[in-house]
């Protein structure tokens, strides 16, 4: 067996750990990527009855990005079971209370609803910031590629680059600068 094949075999049969940076990522888009690693669907030996899923560590979950007006339009439903116990929490209110909850619910909903889902969710670690416990971080061997490009703020771009960027718009000749 060649060295590359041996590594491939090791990566398939071991439970490897992946890290995912949620900064400026849509949780509902990235849930479909995280789900594949959690369930082991990226492995050639995948089968629903086969316990081959990996562990995923999500960091910076406080800095997820939602599209358009979804922060104030998306509602999370909960019912206590008592009459009149229904409640709707908006996405921004939920994120204020627990910055890990939106990504957790998104991954949970991306998977099919069977009993295995609860055990698969146990392999998902979510941290609101960059502070990850050392014993978790030392297992990580792979980074999952981000889906969205992380935008750069204009005041964070170096001044030299702003000055030398090509100009598209030219002011008319009688323009009064404001």
């Amino acid at each position: 067996m060649s060295a590359a094949k041996r590594v491939q075999q090791w990566a398939t049969f071991a439970r490897s750990w992946h890290i995912f940076d949620c900064k400026w990522q849509d949780p509902y888009e990235s849930a479909h990527v995280i789900k594949k690693y959690l369930m082991g669907m990226h492995k050639p030996i995948y089968h629903p009855m086969n316990d081959c899923g990996d562990v995923v560590v999500c960091i910076n979950s406080r800095e997820i990005a939602l599209r358009g007006d979804e922060w104030r339009k998306r509602a999370y439903f909960h019912h206590t079971g008592y009459p009149g116990g229904a409640s709707w929490t908006l996405a921004w209110e939920l994120h204020n209370k627990d910055p890990t909850m939106i990504i957790k619910k998104a991954v949970y909903r991306a998977m099919t609803g069977n009993l295995q889902r609860r055990h698969t969710m146990q392999r998902l670690f979510i941290y609101p910031g960059e502070n990850v416990p050392e014993d978790v971080l030392q297992n990580v061997t792979n980074q999952i590629r981000q889906i969205r490009y992380v935008p750069k703020r204009l005041d964070h771009i170096p001044e030299e680059e702003v000055k030398n960027y090509p100009k598209v718009m030219e002011y008319p000749e009688d323009f009064v600068v404001k």
Partner: protein, 192 residues
């Protein structure tokens, strides 16, 4: 008597209008300028300082486009829209996103509001598109140094849902509003 009054009124009107509309100059009397205010002792001095346009040497302008100012060449504006050369943004054919703040910041004032069409010289569609993308970039907090002085400079210190990161989809700019299911029901009832 009434005729005299009317005559006097029209004379006065003509004399006022003639002073405001008659502009005779052989050279370019207007230039890009900045209005500066300063106090000298007890006096307030307001002066218009003529400035060169910043970074003119980096200007990218494709050939054969409509000039930014329509009053320069009146023959082009009378052409039908199919024969008119495209505006400079259409001619460049750039795929501008709302995260391209280096391009969008050229179309705004120092307080971050979009410049009007007569200054940008864009066509109607591009003006709308760029204007929407400027407001997207502002809502996402990407042009925080180009905002009014009373605004919060840190996007994370905003109120309620505004303090969290938001991204936008540019395909929604020219999308028509989807019918709600109640409206669809109405439409069906009318068709029958």
């Amino acid at each position: 008597m009434a005729g005299l009054v009317r005559l006097g009124y029209s004379l006065a009107k003509k004399s006022i209008l003639s002073t405001t509309t008659r502009v005779i100059s052989t050279t370019n009397q207007l230039n890009i300028k900045e209005i500066r205010e300063r106090t000298e002792g007890t006096n307030l001095v307001i002066e218009g300082v003529t400035l060169p346009s910043p970074r003119t040497e980096l200007l990218v302008r494709p050939p054969n486009v409509t000039p930014p100012l329509p009053n320069i060449d009146l023959s082009l504006t009378k052409l039908p829209s199919s024969e008119k050369p495209p505006c400079y943004m259409c001619a460049l054919g750039l795929d501008v996103k709302h995260t391209d703040v280096l391009i969008l910041s050229q179309f705004v004032r120092s307080d971050g509001c979009m410049l009007p069409k007569r200054i940008t010289g864009l066509c109607k569609r591009q003006q709308k598109k760029i204007g929407k993308m400027v407001s997207m970039a502002q809502k996402a907090g990407l042009m925080i140094n180009l905002t009014p002085s009373n605004s919060k400079k840190d996007p994370t210190k905003r109120k309620d849902y505004k303090k969290f990161n938001t991204y936008f989809d540019e395909t929604t700019i020219f999308k028509k509003r989807e019918m709600r299911w109640t409206e669809r029901f109405k439409f069906r009832a009318n068709a029958k």
